[in-house]
Symmetry: C2
Subunit: 378 residues, 2 copies
């Protein structure tokens, strides 16, 4: 097992210039919280930006001092000797605008009022995130990333980087993503949103001042999410129809293992995640659709891209199935771009992008070695 | 288009003898509401029992007098000249015990208290339903059904009939069903249950006296249900990513067509269905597992069956996939039973069992013609 990057410390960037969001609202100023791992080389050419998914954070790798169990969410992928090798690359994790882990979002205090933004925080899109992330790149004086990468919603950001700033990344690594959400995907998001917004403790998003959170809604949203992150097969392997007790007890108490798991995941999530952020993040997912402005033609939408691409999908991912990744691959090939595509055999469902899998990690390691060796070096 | 059975009238059977339920509770007496279509022949051999699914009722075909839009839920399948031909068969639809459409259930008045049973109504199982339905068969003096049939949870009842009363049915028609629920299936049910039971208007199931219903929870349960009844493809065909307006409006109001559809379905359902019944029905689904008492060996569990079988599945049904139906087929064949199996090509998902589809209806028509022609006739 490769080692970890060790103890890490988040940093904060204050961006004083306004950012005009896709929804038309100018955000006067904002903060981004981020972490970095590895060392930026003299040419400033070895930076990799890692974009997080729905519930991810800037804490990608390593742990916080004195908290050995606080591992980053992609600690298996990022570190010395790991596929995203911090001996080679300068790696950046950033909490997205609208988030709830330090970057400016609905739970942040609005300087204009001294109260949390709450439901008044503007809707942000994948495009907005990319433009905010570019402010961080400017601050770190990174003119061009070696790669921008991410899984799920993070993969959508990597794809968007190749469209918004085609010259600012050499490679885009798009994992377990899709060119847009299907009606089914939007439907699941809508159930989650309705669970939150109809929770009497939501108060139209103004729950902060009341000392409550829409905990029931957040739990339901996360339980539902977890079902869609796992495959039917993975759930059967992990939980089957196992009962906590020996026999059905004919009550509404938890009795199947899968119920226990989902309730636990829901509870844990409701204790750490902001409901308004969850709403904003799911809407950003729903809205993402680069082909929309091109009459639905993804190939036309991706004509601006200049990066080389690695696209990765997982066979049992029914949230963003391999067929959705192949749509991206086809559109990139239509534009004559260099595309590597790996469809990884896995029973883990959508969550596979977060898990160690020899085939997956070998593909990542090989591709990123190629990225590294082609860099302009000292 | 074949004609309808026309105006129909529900009937009520009071069963005064106690029924010992699988949960160990004796139900002192109960009512079953049912409808019949067609004429029972002199040999009483042409009866078909139709078992309903999660949210179905006894109102299978025809309409209520003066209410032309009150068509039964399987009116396309059951009627004169239709696959379940009421010119040939005497067809029975019955609301299950624990239901909310007239048969004794949680919203019924408990004669002992004069108040609704509410959360004190005992949990019922598929086995209990079959035993209750047998009381109705006794009352109608039907010693042996020509067929017992149903889709989804209704198919599970048809399968259970072949095990509880092997000599009381000639044919079992098991459509879009499974030999038990997968962990994913149970997970979805559990999210629905948590949505209902954590709704502040649920009051532990004692909401009747308070003049409220856990409407939020019921809406969420039904929205989620609908997503699992449709295939991803069917939802894309029907709704796509279409917006109600021309452009995103960056709010939490409904904006995608699929959101509008799900909210409408949720609202409609919450106005007609009892929450305690929903909880009981989903638990009956979760518990159904005839193989459990046989060490998980489905073939051993089905050794008691004597009926001939028609098993039908639909290619895009991801709730109860064709693979689950094939498990039933294999176990029946292991026992040397006569099994016909049709895997119908459909993009409609689980809901396909309710929809007119030429291949599906041709299979049903052909099979039921064979059932009819082999009956002991006058």
């Amino acid at each position: 097992m490769a080692e970890s990057v060790g103890a890490v410390t988040p940093q904060r960037l204050h961006c004083p210039e306004p950012l005009l969001l896709a929804c038309g609202v100018p955000l006067a100023h904002f903060d981004l919280v981020y972490e970095t791992y590895g060392v930026l080389n003299a040419q400033r050419s070895n930076a990799i930006l890692i974009c997080h998914a729905l519930s991810g954070t800037h804490h990608v790798a390593g742990h916080y001092a004195g908290q050995p169990r606080s591992s980053g969410w992609w600690d298996n992928m990022v570190g010395p000797g790991k596929p995203v090798d911090t001996n080679r690359f300068f790696v950046i994790g950033v909490n997205n605008l609208g988030g709830c882990d330090g970057s400016t979002g609905p739970s942040s205090l609005d300087p204009a009022t001294g109260h949390p933004y709450g439901p008044h925080f503007p809707f942000v899109t994948v495009e907005d995130w990319v433009r905010a992330q570019a402010r961080l790149a400017d601050h770190l004086q990174i003119a061009r990333f070696a790669a921008v990468m991410g899984g799920s919603l993070g993969g959508m950001q990597a794809l968007q980087w190749s469209l918004t700033y085609p010259e600012r990344l050499r490679h885009a690594i798009v994992i377990a993503a899709a060119p847009n959400l299907s009606a089914q995907n939007i439907g699941f998001n809508e159930v989650a949103r309705q669970a939150i917004t109809t929770d009497p403790d939501f108060y139209g998003g103004n729950y902060y001042a009341r000392g409550v959170i829409p905990e029931r809604g957040l739990r339901l949203a996360r339980m539902l999410g977890h079902i869609t992150y796992l495959s039917d097969d993975a759930m059967m392997e992990k939980f089957g129809r196992d009962l906590l007790a020996n026999a059905p007890h004919f009550s509404l108490d938890v009795e199947f293992e899968i119920e226990s798991y989902l309730r636990y995941q829901g509870k844990k999530f409701s204790e750490r995640f902001d409901a308004n952020t969850y709403l904003i993040m799911t809407k950003a997912l729903d809205y993402f659709d680069p082909a929309l402005a091109h009459g639905g033609h993804l190939s036309k939408a991706l004509a601006r891209a200049r990066a080389d691409f690695l696209v990765v999908s997982f066979t049992s991912d029914w949230r963003f199935s391999p067929a959705r990744s192949r749509e991206i691959v086809k559109a990139l090939l239509d534009n004559g771009l260099a595309v590597s595509y790996a469809e990884i055999d896995s029973s883990q469902g959508h969550d596979a992008f977060l898990m160690e899998n020899p085939d997956y990690f070998a593909v990542m390691q090989a591709y990123l070695t190629r990225v590294f060796e082609a860099l302009p070096h000292a």
